[in-house]
Symmetry: C2
Subunit: 332 residues, 2 copies
């Protein structure tokens, strides 16, 4: 491996001159520059980034904490993160946490051990809680599912408004008993969406029936099971609002398995607008989220934080859009 010293010898200059030639070519004389560049290419010299990072005390690595990479929504977010990071000269260290807080803390410590400069957390948990970051800004951005009192910049959807919009769509179709397949209890994201659901019911003068709220875990399987519960309860809902398209796809399967039709007997709506949403049968009515934008925004906020630039707003709300397809229809 050729290092800067070899190049210097080859060019007959000092290492400082080589370094300068590479970093600010204009402050060395044209003749020297030419000689150095020739030596660089002759030696096939590539700066050792490990050394550069060590010296500059910055790795330009970002840790991404994702609950499950197999979730197609998160996969898109990560795609956005990767793209933005690369554009700004950063690399992405991917960590699949499966929602385990000890794992998250472990990965977050990659920042304290200087393997990475900052963290993008896609879940509502602060893995630095124990650490002291009194003096400097917490090197973290919280995106998608966001803490209630975030100690750092955030990127999220107005989940409450989105859920309200979707619920209103169902109410407009004549539905009065609307089931909801939620995310895990205690999640701020789910709480906000339930609030939006309640907002819509209340505005329409529909009483809340707690039995129509079933928890899931965002997977198709959990949607399938939760739909089974809803079908079994007396006063069966005529519409089901799922907190993710994956659960909606599971729910539709369950509804069909019960010999009912979607949306003929029961309307089903999802959330996220994943690719499969439009290929489902029937195609899913859903709330589209700008998944890649979540990732890109998170990256710029984090890099702003890391580099001390904080002009940009610290708490970003991204827009959603109601996408009406065939899985929802008038109340039978």
């Amino acid at each position: 491996m050729s290092n800067i010293r070899k190049v210097a010898e080859l060019a007959g200059v000092s290492v400082a001159t080589v370094s300068r030639t590479l970093k600010s070519p204009d402050i060395v004389s044209p003749r020297t520059r030419a000689r150095v560049l020739a030596a660089v290419s002759e030696a096939d010299y590539k700066p050792n980034l490990m050394a550069v990072q060590f010296r500059s005390r910055r790795t330009r690595n970002l840790v991404v904490l994702v609950p499950t990479i197999s979730n197609t929504f998160f996969a898109r977010v990560i795609g956005g993160i990767q793209q933005a990071a690369q554009q700004q000269g950063y690399s992405v260290l991917l960590c699949n946490t499966l929602g385990r807080e000890d794992a998250e803390r472990g990965y977050a410590s990659m920042v304290t051990t200087r393997q990475a400069d900052g963290v993008i957390q896609l879940r509502a948990y602060n893995p630095f809680a124990a650490d002291a970051y009194a003096d400097t800004a917490l090197p973290m951005v919280n995106a998608c599912e966001v803490l209630d009192s975030p100690p750092c910049p955030t990127v999220k959807l107005d989940n409450r408004a989105a859920a309200r919009t979707l619920t209103e769509h169902l109410i407009d179709l004549g539905h009065r008993r609307i089931g909801m397949i939620k995310g895990p209890r205690r999640s701020p994201l789910t709480r906000d969406r339930v609030a939006g659901y309640c907002d819509a019911l209340e505005a329409a003068g529909i009483a809340l029936d707690e039995r129509l709220l079933c928890p899931g875990d965002f997977t198709p399987h959990s949607g399938f099971n939760a739909a089974g519960m809803l079908l079994a309860c007396d006063g069966r809902p005529s519409a089901i609002f799922c907190e993710s398209d994956e659960m909606a796809i599971g729910a539709i399967k369950r509804v069909k398995q019960a010999g009912l039709s979607v949306p003929g007997d029961i309307s089903v709506a999802g959330f996220d607008d994943i690719t499969f949403a439009s290929f489902s049968d029937p195609p899913l009515t859903t709330i589209a989220q700008p998944a890649e934008a979540f990732g890109r925004q998170a990256v710029s906020l984090l890099i702003d934080t890391l580099e001390g630039r904080c002009e940009s707003p610290r708490h970003v709300i991204l827009p959603f859009e109601l996408v009406v397809r065939g899985s929802t229809g008038s109340k039978p």
Copy 2:
């Protein structure tokens, strides 16, 4: 940030002793060890990994080159990679290449610039082709879609046998005109699967009809479009073999849109057995691949290569399984 020197002062020993206490506690006297450990915790000392990496000339980072992270099959592979890497003390630098070779070469150069120790490439392209790695083993493992003359360890499926098995299943159901929605032309993976498809046809005495081979790009959209082509061709197939579940899901949508039923009029089979395969309507007959195992195997092969251990076989073939569900049925 407290460094080893501070700890040494605090404990009243030399930095060497601190380093030794942390690395091999048994070679320092119990008294010293206690003093050092006390100082370590008092100073809340965390070794600076950048420095460690710099000195050891190893980052313990692995670059993963993935064509599209949004593909659920690759997402699972990455999950396996991440899990195995973490267990072995490595981190994963994720790079979404979108199949662009310049991007792949750029990311691969993270190894030559010492940001990472090795590369896991999930596509049939050698991003190091230009580089000279004569003396030492190429720090790469090629998994999933594998080069024909791989310059490194590989992990793959016996794609030819798998495609043959699936095609035979369709032939057993009485199908004689079997369409195939392939991957991109020129891909070794697709070529092998087409070969397996041909093997099965030939064994059954069915002549190959080139018009029944349609290329796609593994997305549901491309499956949808390709199915449209197949439906339009004269001598329409009674079964369609898709090279990915995602394309199969797209194909099913197209078949239904044409007013035909699956499998009543046309059988459709996929490949991969993604989660959505069993939630499709009808549920997909497919070839199950051990996605996470691809990732785990790739990681161990790569680490073996990097650490000079090469006992394990260099070219691993992973098992597949035919999963028969409702999307395939007897020829009408």
